[in-house]
Amino acid sequence: MKATLLNSLDMEPSNPMNPLPELTPEEHAIYEWQMWVRNFGELGQRKLKNAAVLISRCGGVGGVVALQLAAAGIGKMFIAHAGNVKPSDLNRQLLMTYDWIGKPRSESIKRRLKELNPRIDLTVIDQNINEENAEPLVAQVDLVVDCAPLFQERFAMNRQCVAQKKPLVECAMYEMEAQITSIFPGQTPCLQCLYPEIPANWKRQFPVFGAVSGTIASMAAMEALKIIGQFGQPLYGKLLRCDFNSMSFKTLRIQRRANCACCGHL
């Protein structure tokens, strides 16, 4: 399974149609310490530079995913997040700033990410994911990280990633609990394999500490880096469930659903 998953990203440096970009001296200086990571190295860094990632919503989870991926040197990033900054964003949404309350979140996101990494090719869309915009957005990227607070958005994203066979890091939290899995369509369970229908009782507002959303976000960023950089073992077919009350972390084995309405045909 591993080889298929890795090859599907088509980022091999030997591919003359898609050569990996070289690193500049400045990039060498910035990423030196992470290039010391075994099995990652300069080749891994060039894969990150060559990659495009979509992050759905840039709040408590997505904001930290974006920050970590920008810091790590992802070349191209698309972020979908509508609305203006609210006071209640500021306990966890680390890309929003106090001086920007009442102003578009998309501008705050752009400003903060560019302060950290001015080299990144960044597109911030002032919209949340829906059935219409998911298809063209997913088409432009190598991987998606889903951090949306509504199941309608998550299911739309899952459907598009399955349709376009793009890897999807699915991460979410509630109160002191969080969970994360990485989906490779057709080979691992998808979101609808795990949960076939949208839960009727989910509420848009949920209890959250920024430290919980930020921790699962950093794990999601690490999943994205491993999948793009082609090292380590992503959470394919596994759901990591974290309980921050007891600091209990369980890696659970999950299964594909043969009759899954979304990926059962693959």
């Binding site: 939290m173 609990e177 659970l252």
Partner: protein, 100 residues
């Protein structure tokens, strides 16, 4: 020596935050089960905490579609027969979450 199928065993249910209003705030619930099976463990859980019953089909004991059940870290997918469980096994309820 008696086997697990002939005696009362103890299993632990782990209740997620989203369902804890129905379990008096308890995150772990140890229950005694006779004729050990997953179905019997669900029956005992909802007898103890009736509020949790709405998250299961009370005829088949299948969880609702927004819930996954893990038996010692393995996802339960076949609810058609009496899934055996053993003394000190753990049953974990993992609901769909979308906090982002």
């Amino acid at each position: 020596m008696m086997t697990d199928t002939e005696r009362t065993i103890r299993v632990v249910w782990i209740i997620p935050a989203m369902l804890r209003t129905a379990s008096d705030g308890n995150s772990e619930v140890a229950i005694a089960v006779q004729n050990p099976s997953y179905q019997e463990a669900v029956k005992q859980l909802i007898t103890l905490y009736p509020g949790i019953a709405e998250h299961f089909d009370v005829e088949t004991f299948r969880p609702r579609s927004y819930i996954s059940i893990f038996h010692n870290d393995e996802q339960l997918v076949d609810f058609s027969t009496g899934t055996p469980i053993r003394d000190r096994d753990e049953l974990l309820i993992v609901p769909a979450l979308a906090g982002g």
